[in-house]
Amino acid sequence: MTAPHDPPTAAQLTEAVREWLESQVMPNVSGAMQFHARVAVNVLAMVEREIGLGPAQAERHRTGLVALGCADDAELARRIREGAFDAGGVESVGVVRVDVEAFVFDSVVDKLRVANPKYLR
């Protein structure tokens, strides 16, 4: 699935670097260096998750935008701001239409599943 590239996959390469940082670097540094090593570990873990989850999330996002008649997030954002998605009597969450809010919420949850899954409540 990664042709023409040979193993390891991009995710496996990232994982290897992350494991080296965790097992060899982190225990041997302290203070600011350890903090920045931990940030690096977290960034690599995020990249691994994005490689795994990203393609399906991108497909779901495209489908959802089409259902709302928007080409991309920029158009969606602009139409929300213009009030084009205000509920106006139809079922709503806050101000905007319930289906629009649900799509935006699901997109944000997808972003967090990659960026920081522990943050989800």
């Binding site: 940030v39 701001r81 806050g94 949850v109 972003k111 967090l112 960026a115």
Partner: protein
């Protein structure tokens, strides 16, 4: 330093981390510790505004470091750039320690009320006596910052719609600290000792400060809304006791939501320093992926407040 309110000769001068717009140094003189802050060239606002605000806050009994001398009013400044020297305040600033270490077990239950009282004291400052302060509508300010970022964030647009549609009744504007939160306060075993980092002080709605300290980022993993350690009521009751002004929980949460959007936009700005090549830093780059934490909190808050309203 003699004649400037500082006893004896300067000893054990030490550089502290101090933010992008200033250098921070700590030194001993006599038997006391002092902190010197010196502005870097090109800072957005003259440090002398902050000196005036700090002096006014201290005079009103708010928990702040005491300014013992500054370049404000000096005809010739020996340090070139504007500076101030404050009496050092003993205590802890690192949020995770304040939230978890045993040393602060007695401080945590009283911190939210102490924060409410301190905010009320700060809001009493006569801002008309201080030159160089400005104020603007906070929703308009952050809509503009959103546009300037060049990014599209539908979740923040939903938040802006909600904020516009649910604005609380206006209040008289006052001096607000602008960045009163865990990380910018010194806490000891008894609780709040000093509020730091007055660079963002401005004129605005007093509830802005109360909302900001409740933003989830400033709970640092704590389970309660006010600085991770207190309930909304503790903050609001203490604020009312000191100021006479009652802020409702719903009004507070409007400002918490605004603060959540604001921190999301600040995350975008921080990642932009890296992306624009101003500072190359994987730490700043990673902050770009924290924007969605604030999108999530914003949408969750709107869901909660919409359910409450029905």
């Amino acid at each position: 330093m003699r004649g400037a309110g500082i006893p004896g000769d300067v000893a054990s001068l030490e550089r502290l981390t101090g933010g992008a717009s200033r250098e921070t140094w700590r030194f001993a003189a006599g038997h006391e510790l002092f902190v010197l802050q010196r502005q870097r060239p090109g800072s957005p606002r003259d440090m002398h505004v902050e000196v005036a605000v700090l002096e006014a806050a201290h005079a009103l009994g708010a928990p702040t470091a005491q300014v013992v001398t500054s370049s404000r009013g000096m005809s010739t400044n020996p340090l070139g750039e504007p500076f101030m020297v404050m009496r050092a305040v003993a205590g802890e600033t690192i949020a995770r320690k304040i939230l978890r270490d045993g040393d602060f077990a007695d401080a945590r239950p009283v911190l939210a009320a102490q924060i409410g009282r301190a905010m009320a004291q700060i809001h009493r400052i006569d801002h008309t006596a201080i030159d160089g302060l400005d104020g603007e509508d906070q929703v308009a300010k952050y809509v503009q910052l959103m546009d300037e970022s060049g990014q599209a964030h539908p979740a923040f647009e939903i938040a802006f719609r909600w904020l516009e549609a649910n604005r609380p009744a206006p209040r008289d504007w006052c001096l607000v600290h602008g960045d009163f939160r865990l990380g910018n306060v010194i806490v000891d075993g008894d609780g709040l000792r000093a509020v730091l980092d007055w660079e963002l002080a401005h004129i605005g709605n007093p509830a802005e400060d109360l909302g900001w300290v409740c933003v989830r980022a400033w709970r640092f993993g704590g389970s309660k809304p006010v600085a991770g350690v207190g309930d909304y009521a503790a903050l609001l009751d203490a604020y009312e006791a000191e100021s006479g002004a009652r802020i409702s929980e719903r009004e507070l949460r409007w400002w918490e939501l605004l603060g959540t959007v604001k921190w999301g936009l600040m995350c975008i700005s921080q990642a932009a320093y890296h992306l624009n090549g101003v500072v190359r830093s994987h730490e700043l780059a990673a902050i770009g992926r924290r924007v969605c934490e604030n999108e999530y909190d914003a949408l969750m808050t709107i869901r909660e407040l919409s359910a409450d309203a029905q």
